[in-house]
Chain length 236, copies 2
Amino acid sequence: MVEQHIASAFDRDLEAIQARIMKMGGLVESAIREAAQALETRDEELALTVRQGDKAIDGLEELINEETARLIALRSPAASDLRLVLSVMKIAGNLERIGDYAKNMAKRTGVLAQGPSISEGTSALRRMAREVERMLKDALDSYIQRDVELARDVIERDRDVDQMYNALFREFLTHMMEDPRNISACMHLHFIAKNTERMGDHVTSIAEQVIYLVTGEKPEEDRKKYDTTSTTPQEI
Amino acid sequence: MVEQHIASAFDRDLEAIQARIMKMGGLVESAIREAAQALETRDEELALTVRQGDKAIDGLEELINEETARLIALRSPAASDLRLVLSVMKIAGNLERIGDYAKNMAKRTGVLAQGPSISEGTSALRRMAREVERMLKDALDSYIQRDVELARDVIERDRDVDQMYNALFREFLTHMMEDPRNISACMHLHFIAKNTERMGDHVTSIAEQVIYLVTGEKPEEDRKKYDTTSTTPQEI
């Protein structure tokens, strides 16, 4: 009886932490969406909202880390529960990083609003961000529902994001070569594209945690990267 | 007597984990140095060594996380000890990220070796990487010795790294404008510069952990960033 009581106290504590993860996930999804919208519509006010909102995301991560540590110390969870608790910390870390990238996108919006408009670029970036946002939603759903199939689907879709990045990389290079006045703006857009691609990597890492939790299966050591731009010379 | 016995078992376990942190730190310092050297001398073999070496760094982080969790579960440390244990996990996370950036630098070396040489750029990058490597060494020393002054010095020096990055950003933009054939190489070099600047941020985060551990003082919420390129329009 006592054991069961302890076990359910652990579950209750963990549920409270997971609720915070979901809240954090919701804030990060909004940050991605609003940062990409601000970039496309050159809305500096919205960009500022995203930048300021990042503090709440960081605060949640800190809270989750503290509560998780307290949970471990208080309940001394067994191996499989410990794995679960550590995955919560990792997911919070991934979400925090994604939030940082969204904030950085918002920061660059201010600079870009002052230069020439590269509108095809910014709308392609918004599509890319939209896909990452959807992947994030599904990755978090797969976590809550322990849905391995959905998690695998998220990982699969990260390839599309990598390919969107590759296409943008080439597009920005072309713009830069065509007109040197585009160079500065394209450098910023390129960073945004790369950061969005990295958001996708963090979402993938969340999905991999889900697979590991349910199946005990670790992701392949060398998951094939579909961003080829750092290893392939560009032919333009 | 029993309490004291438990306390020293905690200390012993923690020391073992800290020894791993130091080993991880040594590997990361080498990775930074060798990646920058490979970039400057266009040494693709050395670059490959760096890329392969990242697995050992990742493996150490995983081990540290597992051992740290086990330590918390087994010893149920009090608040201040828990803070110490969590800082170990954070530092391992910072080191792993720095290792990733070094690996990425090594990956780009292969592409760059096939294009035009931008030798002033790569030697400036190597100087920047050298400074980050020194900062990392000092940050880890400050951690082991609980040396707040040294930690503050590291944080101060990150400004220089940010300024080196700003200078390189402008230099690469100029190269790109002068000759479109430099654009592709400069994009890669620019990423490397940005990643090196981010390494400095992670080193700073380690130093901030030290200050927090010793003084309980949190870093300012909005530590002034001296990378101004994402918020200032470029005048060229």
